[in-house]
Point group: C2
Chain length 465, copies 2
């Protein structure tokens, strides 16, 4: 596709639409918008516009549609698959001024928020009213809820509460045509035509730009317990994961961490944590609820399972400070790995019971290709983040041979019944691997759907497929 450059008259129109103060053309200021958290990729947009209303987004879309200018929507830029990178230059629409929680409806246990609200801020506002919004990716302190919707985000609590898909009731969306629609209704059930809300979720900004989000909330659990279990092998830890569910418990989080990851967090973050010899893997297990006896009983039951799976030691967090510390251990892992080595993060997901096979296979593939890896993630969902570390790999092999190794990791994932991404999305960096799992029939359906929404292909080009 040959997109047009943004000409002076088009730039003037952009300034008219959003105000000159909300248009960025200066190279230094554009730098911030040239990357997300994906490796070290950099693509500069020609122009950044920062609209504040759906009508402004609509006017920008119509302008770009008319002039065949590529449009890349951007949330907080915390993505890990390059979805917010403006690879064709063009206009980048930064959603940062859509930053209001418009309503928390305590009668209906719903909220209406703008897409540029930071996820954790919204969670806190809901919690202040005794309500739970449970979708908390590791980047919750900086990511936007709009980006979460666009990636079908998860986080540690999916294991009990489900992904963001189960909390989004309705979306206001600006289509590439400039039309502004609501995709559905603010209802808990919906059986009225093809579900456009669900289609938008996870579409990575390629079908429309989300301008309002109606979210379902739950009563806030008042109590929780957190434990860290240590294991002699990755396989033992992963095998315990399935067993916990089979024992009839649904924890509110069930996270896996490799020893190496914990070591790097300790180095990077100076977290006080006694890492003993002979321990190779950890499970961070949270149970929540409203009754202390039930939580105790669940913890005891889990403890029994852990023992049967060769768990060496269980640390119960006995204060909220210690809980916070254990969660920080897990949440900062991606940042710590990144600060210690050149790396690539891959997001694999398999049926839960296949995790031991997956980890074993990843190590074996790494052995053959000469890369090391740190694995951690949402083991309760079968969702493993694989951080591939350059370590001693030569620059040549890193740049040329590694791709084949990653392909093998995904081939293994798919052969175990899984898919390429559980929550990071495909974006730019995984799209070459999509053919491992999907056929030309899938691609034709996806392209067809894209074409229905965006016949000129202006919106977030080059992503997913």
């Amino acid at each position: 596709m040959n997109y047009n450059k943004i000409t002076a008259p088009v730039l003037d129109s952009i300034k008219t639409i959003v105000g000159a103060d909300n248009v960025i053309v200066n190279h230094d200021e554009l730098q911030k918008y040239s990357h997300d958290e994906t490796e070290d990729l950099v693509y500069y947009p020609e122009v950044v516009a920062r609209p504040q209303t759906p009508e402004q987004v609509s006017a920008l879309m119509m302008l770009c549609n008319e002039h065949l200018i590529s449009v890349t929507p951007r949330g907080a830029g915390t993505g890990l698959s390059g979805g917010a990178l403006p690879i064709e230059g063009g206009l980048l629409i930064a959603m940062e001024r859509f930053n209001k929680v418009l309503q928390i409806d305590e009668q209906n246990l719903q909220a209406t928020v703008e897409p540029g609200v930071v996820t954790e801020e919204f969670m806190n506002q809901a919690a202040a009213k005794g309500l739970l919004y449970p979708v908390d990716p590791a980047s919750k302190g900086s990511c936007f809820i709009g980006g979460n919707v666009s990636h079908g985000s998860g986080g540690p609590r999916v294991v009990k509460y489900g992904t963001i898909r189960e909390y989004i009731l309705n979306l206001q969306v600006v289509l590439p045509s400039g039309d502004i629609i609501w995709t559905g209704a603010n209802t808990l059930k919906y059986a009225s035509g093809y579900n456009l809300t669900q289609l938008m979720i996870g579409s990575e900004g390629t079908l429309g730009i989300i301008t309002k989000i109606v979210v379902k909330l739950l009563p806030l659990p008042t109590l929780d317990a957190l434990m860290l279990a240590s294991f002699p092998t990755n396989e033992a830890a992963c095998a315990a994961v399935s067993a916990i569910f089979r024992a009839g418990i649904i924890p509110s989080a069930l996270e896996f961490m490799e020893r190496r990851g914990v070591e790097w967090v300790k180095e990077h973050d100076d977290i006080a944590f006694d890492l003993q010899d002979g321990i190779e893997a950890f499970l961070l297990i949270e149970v929540d609820g409203t009754n202390q006896d039930v939580i105790f009983a669940d913890c005891e039951k889990i403890n029994g399972v852990l023992e049967a799976y060769f768990c060496k030691d269980v640390l119960f967090a006995d204060s909220s400070a210690q809980k916070e510390e254990l969660w920080r251990l897990r949440r900062t892992m991606a940042v710590s790995v990144k600060s210690n080595s050149v790396y690539k993060e891959e997001d694999t997901v398999v049926p839960r019971a296949e995790l031991p096979q997956l980890i074993k296979g990843i190590k074996e593939i790494g052995g053959r290709y000469g890369f090391e890896s740190v694995c951690y993630g949402h083991a309760g969902d079968g969702n493993l983040h694989v951080n591939i570390i350059k370590a001693n790999m030569s620059d040549y092999d890193w740049n040329n041979k590694l791709k084949d190794g990653i392909r093998e990791v995904f081939e293994l994932t798919v052969s175990l019944g899984g898919t390429l991404s559980g929550e990071h999305g495909i974006g730019l960096v995984q799209k070459d691997f999509m053919s491992i799992k999907y056929s030309e029939v899938h691609f034709a359906l996806w392209r067809g759907i894209k074409n229905v929404f965006d016949p000129k292909g202006i919106l977030n080009p080059g992503k997913i497929f």
Copy 2:
């Protein structure tokens, strides 16, 4: 669209594909396939084929695509919106031989089932292994799980467990082209391209024919409590619904029933139930879990809320026989109403707290148009089934004026933030009302999506839009 009739050579091909024993052309035998549970509508197919494998479905689709013959997929025929009616004649594909539970995977808490499995049979098989499949529409004893997926079905437990949308992980689908695809992966999370699984759910057999279903299961709750609360007015009962959630309780069912509905069930079904004067509405409230103390505590908390909302009396079911009897009261209501009068059933859904307004408005509209109504349904989800009864309405008014009254009911529903159907689907009988809620932009997107999957428009024509 002008479809072709099934000629003798095409009929021979159909017989070759599925075997002559599984082809029906005799008018008497076709009768069974000429209707579903929607009012008294009757449309005969020209031919019924009963395939047993995805490959047979694929061959039938290719044949009909080539010859431009309309294809209507049919589950158990329990639908309430006419989705399974072959309004263009043509070939009806009856999925009744896809009746096997292929696997219940206790390691991953998943199952793979064929679409022609009766929902309750699958629930029972899962329960025998200590697992819960919670999607149980009132027709669970006869409906097929494939039809449930196609309608995005709900049922009483949605209020705690969510709709079928949250339990379907992956679908095997035969497209109108004859291609057989899996829509996703057997994983709890999925962020790999537009979500075709979610798009298929609720598409009412217009995009493809489902041939295998991968379902998520949960550990089975071991305990439950059931109570029936009686109220002096509909409004008081509905107002109590929101208050229960605001008190921090999520019941596993929260059903509303009008007095008239209960009266008719008593007449029709001879259920022993003492219906006292001054009672106009009931809430049937279930709480489930694994700890008796928690269930008692929840019930007490609910009881407190009920008292504050003018509840007259609360009956606690004290045996499983009594629970069964109370559930039967609710589940047979549709059948009882139907057996007492000519009626039409409409499926409305609004944000939960708008229920009192909705019921009040429906009665007011009925007063102006001269129809009576019996309302009941899943009040916990804001989902109300409105049974409009002919009663004293003249045949002329019933056939001509009533449609305007129903339109007003839906206009009211939409004005309260709701939509046309929560779980029954749009099918044939609601499609004329879709423009109350949706714009030409929505219709263009839906038509576009339909066209991507089914460019010749052979599959289930005339449904949804």
